[in-house]
């Protein structure tokens, strides 16, 4: 009985974890419009759409491939964000790269 219960629990966990493991990686490129301790909003360069994302303790902030303080994130800065999630509406930021703004055409 106990063995069967363990098998059922394992199967349920597997089914439950599958969607969580099936996250995709996204790249958001644009300008920071809002930054807090747990959130980052970026207005995309390509279409002007603002993407709201979550940040956590593992979120990395870099400039020229070197780690910098999260306090460096400021509204108006141009960034390249790599985030993971199920959709653009549900993203957790993995890394924020501070980059020069693109040259105007």
């Amino acid at each position: 009985m106990l063995k069967r219960l363990m098998l059922v629990t394992l199967a349920a966990l597997t089914v439950g974890l599958a969607p969580a493991l099936a996250h995709d990686d996204y790249r958001i490129i644009g300008t920071i419009t809002r930054v807090t301790g747990t959130a980052l909003d970026v207005k995309q360069t390509k279409d002007g759409k603002t993407i709201a994302m979550k940040t956590d303790s593992a979120t990395l902030v870099t400039r020229d491939k070197k780690k910098v303080e999260r306090a460096e994130l400021k509204t108006g800065l141009h960034v390249v964000v790599d985030a993971r999630g199920d959709s653009l509406e549900d993203l957790v930021v993995l890394e924020v790269r501070l980059v020069p703004p693109p040259a105007r055409p």
Binding site: Y26, R27, I28, I29, V80, R97, V99, P102, A103
Partner: protein, 228 residues
């Protein structure tokens, strides 16, 4: 002691007899040549005897082609025949061009069965971070990873041939790491069944592949233009 009579030596034929028999032999040989040899050997049948006697079939035996199983939508998996890989369908070709804005990336991949091959050439207007890799159909399997990289180096061009080590989608990841737009242009042909473009916002766009019917023949007059 008795003497035996000498064998009778026939008279030599006269010149006119020799000439007549030679002409008759030549005529008979000519008739055989025209009526039998030419139709049977070369398919030349001026008097129609070869056709009537079935001799022209000897010169041009009917072909007995090997039956190829061809079906639209079948998995393009090769069957090995010595150095030849035979497929149950025609190869396709594709030209893909994309402009990568600063820091953008794109993936472009083809559906290939195990052992199926393609040839490719691509160029970029500036060096890009690239990863030529494959994703196993069905994900990780028996300890093999879900994805495998075949060539992961910064490049601005590559030309090659590829034979898929496993069934799945195989192709390139190109990333523009600079601040200027970069155009990547890829040309391929091969035994793939589908192509997909995956942008950095995870939008997946299936591409229409070109079939051989869409290839226009080059006219014979311009075939050698530009060559010495």
């Amino acid at each position: 002691m008795t003497s035996q009579p000498l064998p009778e030596i026939p008279d030599h034929p006269s010149l006119s007899t020799l000439a007549r028999t030679t002409v008759i032999a030549l005529v008979v040989a000519g008739v055989i040549l025209v009526m039998a040899v030419l139709p049977a050997e070369y398919g030349i049948d001026p008097v129609g005897t070869g056709r009537r006697l079935g001799l022209t079939d000897i010169a041009t035996p009917p072909l007995d082609p090997v039956e190829m199983t061809r079906s639209t939508g079948a998995a393009l998996k090769p069957t090995t025949n010595g150095p030849i890989g035979e497929y149950p369908g025609q190869f396709k070709f594709d030209v893909y061009e994309v402009v990568l804005q600063p820091y953008e990336y794109v993936e472009y991949k083809y559906q290939l069965e195990q052992g199926a091959s393609m040839v490719y050439s691509w160029t970029a207007t500036a060096a890009v971070l690239q990863d030529f890799h494959g994703e196993r159909a069905g994900g990780a399997d028996d300890g093999a990873p879900a994805e495998e990289s075949f060539d992961k180096r910064d490049r601005n061009a590559a030309d090659g041939s590829f034979s898929a080590p496993f069934a799945g989608i195989h192709g390139w990841y190109w990333e523009n790491v600079g601040g200027e737009p970069v155009t990547v242009r890829l040309t391929t042909s091969g035994f793939y069944s589908a192509a997909v473009e995956i942008r950095s916002d995870r939008t997946r766009t299936a591409r229409t592949l070109r079939t051989l019917d869409t290839l226009m023949p080059v006219s014979s007059g311009s075939g050698s233009a530009g060559r010495p």
